[in-house]
């Protein structure tokens, strides 16, 4: 038993809170990908293995499993640091901002790039804790500058908002092209 413990001690590494959860999660993902190889990466029985469609995904999955297992063992062996739960909560908190981003993405084709960006920047600034007029004006300025530089200046392709259809004839096409 002592020999086993000595051997495991060789793989001890510096650890951070939440490391073990990530290492275990990654290994599970790698093993799931390995199990999926037969129906997600085909081998057609060609003359050389490297020409098989399934060869390179299998190389990637193989590396994930082998290195992922070593990483897991190293992490499992490392002295544990407190704060795992707080760390995972912090990861999950980022999902809130993924939702903000999703709403923004969904809003652009409907209300248009400029209005959506203005709203997103100002509301997200408020959510981030900025309430002063100066910061909210900066957020609105940032949104306006972004739209002007990318859409009007560089001509980046973004869809015109559906609501732009209801604008008066004189300015509709101008707004659709630049904002």
């Amino acid at each position: 038993m002592q020999r086993v413990l000595n051997f495991l001690a060789l793989f001890r590494r510096e650890r951070r809170p939440g490391d073990l959860i990530f290492a275990a999660g990654f290994l599970v993902l790698a093993l799931a990908c390995l199990v999926a190889v037969p129906w997600q990466a085909q081998f057609l029985g060609k003359k050389s293995l490297v020409e098989e469609p399934g060869f390179w995904p299998s190389v990637g999955v193989g590396m994930m499993v082998v290195f992922g297992a070593i990483h897991f063992v190293c992490t499992w062996n490392a002295p544990r640091l407190p704060g795992r739960l707080q760390e995972v909560i912090l990861w999950l908190r980022s999902v809130e901002f993924v939702l903000w981003f999703s709403v923004y993405v969904g809003a652009v084709p409907v209300i248009g790039y400029l209005p959506a960006t203005l709203l997103f920047a100002v509301l997200l600034s408020i959510r981030a804790g900025y309430r002063s007029v100066r910061m909210l004006t900066s957020a609105a300025g940032l949104a306006l500058a972004t739209v002007l530089v990318f859409k009007a200046g560089l001509g980046v392709r973004l869809p015109a908002g559906a609501v732009y259809q209801y604008l008066p004839d004189g300015i509709r096409s101008f707004v659709m092209v630049n904002f």
């Binding site: 995904p57 190389v59 590396m63 981030a128 980046v156």
Partner: protein, 500 residues
């Protein structure tokens, strides 16, 4: 000589010069803001450059790539916070110098060393070009495959202490590049029956998620901070001239930068540490290193600024990116039908020289800009970090959505953003994923192409460069396994020693 004139003709036109100016000035500003960095900026700007002429788009990105480290040294020296990750070593000696009232001297030395290292690297690049033009065509499919394989091995080895993590993430990158319809037999790979995975995962979407969105999420979820720095008074130009006193250290640093930049997968960190270690060994005052040594500052800054030009060598000559930023630039080349590799030197040498001249010019622009703007940049450092997160999130949208006007791309990028945040929080590397994606794709294509022409695996090494590459791969792999085992033994012995 005629080629250089043709290159100058390509370079000296308004759109290219304006792009170079914006990239150089913008790169310094981006580098000076802790929490943004060139990877985030380049990821966001990539799709916008697709609409530009190849040289215009590339000089814009080159400007950011080559100048951000100048800006990054400013907060590293003044507030002990590196503007970009590669300026971390600058804080060791730069900040202690500031604390003892030598901020101006430290800034002057950092800028001088950066300029010295960058120009030295570009001159070596220009001098090497005829050799590259001769050697590059000797690289066929198998040699390029082996060079890419060497890149993957090196990116794993370069992450010492995290090799297992680097290996598993490189494997993830290789898997990600293979998702979607396979181009030869038209079979589906790892799509799980989902239509939106049929066309695969776009590298830029993954890059934007891992670099830009993850940074935005991290800045927003963490407590707010607005670093403060005091203005600097005096002549920066005079302070910069002191670099001549440390020219040997700067030249050695530049040399390490060139060497490490050329080798795929290694990059700035290794160059800096080698340069720093060499400077300390040679110094008459090694005890000062880490406590405000001008030599230490010069060693790290000259080395990291020499890398960008050198990293262009494998990219241009072989089409193999050495790190994440050159991997991003590779996609700009492809979009414009400019295929980096042996053919580029034979068919578009003027284009290659134009890029070199652009690199040279950008360093001149940057040095003029930092001379006049340091106190202005100090104000930019003070932007609150959560606000920066909001800004990056707003800008990231343009980057992802403008690619294909696809909301699915945005969601994929957001997913990789969360994944990137977790990696950052755990101090795990993101670069192996990107290099796995790029080099994995190159390896698959080149291995298939070369195996079609060979009768057996042994034929793989019947050409001198292929044999040399295989030899290098074997030596490096064996050596790194030996080093790892020795490290493990040392750690084991020290943990079992009676003093513990």
């Amino acid at each position: 000589m005629e080629t250089i004139f043709q290159a100058a003709e390509l370079l000296f036109n308004w759109p290219v010069l304006v792009a170079l100016l914006i990239g150089s000035v913008g790169g310094v500003v981006i580098g000076a803001i802790p929490g943004v960095g060139p990877a985030v900026a380049i990821a966001i700007l990539l799709p916008a450059t697709f609409a530009l002429e190849p040289l215009v788009g590339l000089t814009l990105l080159l400007g950011i790539y080559g100048s951000s480290m100048y800006g990054g040294s400013l907060p590293a020296i003044l507030i002990n916070t590196p503007g970009t990750a590669v300026n971390a070593l600058t804080t060791y000696d730069g900040y202690p110098m500031t604390r003892r009232g030598e901020a101006l001297r430290a800034l002057g030395l950092a800028y001088g060393a950066s300029f010295f290292g960058a120009v030295l690297s570009i001159l070596i690049l220009i001098l090497l070009s005829p050799v590259l033009a001769t050697v590059a065509p000797m690289f066929g499919s198998r040699e390029i495959f082996l060079a890419a394989l060497l890149g993957i091995i090196l990116v794993i080895i370069a992450h010492r202490g995290q090799m297992a993590a680097a290996g598993m993430l490189a494997g993830l990158g290789i898997l990600l590049q293979s998702v979607g319809m396979e181009p030869v037999n038209y079979t589906m790979r790892y799509t799980f029956g989902l239509d939106w995975l049929t066309s695969g995962l776009d590298l830029i979407v993954v890059v934007l998620g891992l670099f830009a969105l993850s940074q935005a999420f991290q800045l927003i979820v963490e407590p707010d901070g607005a670093p403060d720095a005091q203005p600097v008074a005096g002549s920066l130009f005079r302070a910069m001239r002191e670099i001549w006193t440390y020219r040997r250290t700067a030249a050695t640093g530049g040399g390490f930068g060139v060497l490490m930049g050329v080798i795929p997968g290694v990059g700035e960190f290794t160059a800096q540490f080698l340069s720093y270690t060499a400077a300390r060994k040679r110094s008459r005052t090694p005890d000062m290193f880490g406590r405000g040594s001008p030599e230490g500052l010069v060693a790290s800054e000259s080395a990291n600024n020499a890398v960008p030009a050198a990293a262009m060598i494998p990219l241009l000559a072989l089409g193999i990116p050495g790190e994440a930023l050159t991997a991003m630039m590779l996609s700009v080349f492809y979009v414009h039908n400019v295929v980096p590799g042996p053919g580029l030197f034979q068919n578009q040498l003027d284009f290659v020289y134009a890029l070199y001249l652009a690199l040279l010019l950008l360093n001149v622009i940057v040095i003029l800009w930092v001379l006049v703007s340091s106190n202005l940049l100090i104000r930019i450092i003070r932007i609150p970090t959560r606000f920066l997160g909001v800004a990056i999130l707003v800008l990231s949208f343009v980057g992802v959505y403008s690619l294909r006007n696809s909301a699915v791309d945005c969601m994929i990028a957001a997913g990789f953003g969360v994944f990137g945040l977790i990696l950052k929080r755990l101090n795990l590397p993101t670069v192996p994923i990107i290099l796995g994606m790029v080099l994995g794709g190159i390896m698959e294509v080149k291995l298939r192409a070369s195996m079609g022409r060979l009768d057996s695996v042994v034929d793989f090494v019947n050409r001198p460069i292929a044999a040399l590459l295989v030899f290098v791969i074997v030596v490096i792999t064996v050596q790194s396994i030996r080093t790892a085992i020795r490290d493990l033994r040392d750690r084991h012995d020290s943990s079992n020693s009676p003093n513990q």
